[in-house]
Symmetry: C2
Subunit: 210 residues, 2 copies
Amino acid sequence: MVRRKDPAVRSLLIERAAQMLRSREPITLRSLVAGTDVSTMAVYTYFGSMDGLWKAVRQEGFTRLAARLANVTMTADPVRDLAALSVAYLSNAAANPDLYRVMFDAGFDLEDSEAADETLHLLVRTVERAKSAGRFHPEVDALELATQGWVIGHGLASLVLTGPLPREALAHGPPVLTALFISAGDEPARCRESMGRGWNPECLVGSSNG
Amino acid sequence: MVRRKDPAVRSLLIERAAQMLRSREPITLRSLVAGTDVSTMAVYTYFGSMDGLWKAVRQEGFTRLAARLANVTMTADPVRDLAALSVAYLSNAAANPDLYRVMFDAGFDLEDSEAADETLHLLVRTVERAKSAGRFHPEVDALELATQGWVIGHGLASLVLTGPLPREALAHGPPVLTALFISAGDEPARCRESMGRGWNPECLVGSSNG
DNA sequence: GCTAAAACATAGCACCGTTATGTATTGTTG
DNA sequence: CAACAATACATAACGGTGCTATGTTTTAGC
């Protein structure tokens, strides 16, 4: 064959797009490549279209989310771990609000779905650990419960990031998740205890990136 | 003064925008006025800018939501009513998916947030009725619980409408809301009973408009 | 070293939201 | 009723957008 694409250029453009997203600059084809030594055509050789660029940015968002969740240190208390995963999810959204919005705006295709599935699977495994530990009822469907936790986390993140709820509303997380976990069979006092140890509010203040 | 604006033209443009949104046509200034007898300038005399048009469309979305919620017939069972309001909220989102997306995308500044506030307040009043009826603990903060219900409803609507979850995932509503209401003090069996009577899944099938 | 294919650079396309400018319309007022 | 003034409308243009067409350069394989 012939001249190969340089993966570094691809990463550079994605990183630059994520950075412009963070600094709230409008991302246009020309503004994206301005200041770099790549030309507008590079976007088309690497991403096919501007839509392809956005898809790649979405993918990067899921990758960062997965990395942040993978950094959560698991313990012997799976319910605490679920709380810790939830706060990691929300802190990722709070740290990269525009990236999070892009991840979940229209045009969510199969490729994104795979990235999201891996993230969800981490939740599922933790729910199953909670079942094995006798914290949740055996008849609890792990995927269903994990999905319901995701619904709560996303609803919270979405309403806070798009404006309707203030940032302090993230404090709604613990009571709602606690209600969900208790309904799954956890003993109330113990659940609240685990939630208190896993939910570190420090992670949700400020807005540095990750 | 002189020549006055015609309110009918304003409604016509909003209605047309909502219809184009529904039929997934891209809404541009020129495509919006094409076929009508109004010119492109009309958009600027009536809305100031294309952003103003979108703001008006958002407002229309909240007005429709408020109308749909107001149509829910209240009963002596406030928990059933909360379930009915939730399903009305979700059916509105399912019937006008693109309108719902516009309502909650970036730039949540409505010219009058009355419609949004009124919607939440209807939930708050119903929660307070549940407290008065002895279904919820007296120390429950009605606004907080209503907000938490909203978080669940929006999370569900958002994840379903933007693609990550299939439409059947709306069935997650009852168990999660039941968990929330039980945590607020409702007796489990009675709560599930009320939820079963208020949650009419018929409203969530199909995709006709409202 | 030649050839062919991939990547790059430039210029241009149709379209976008917006604005400038001129014209028609209409309520107020002398 | 006529003159005015202010609003609404129509048209054309402007800068910017994503994208493409068209060369030109670079590089891998024979």
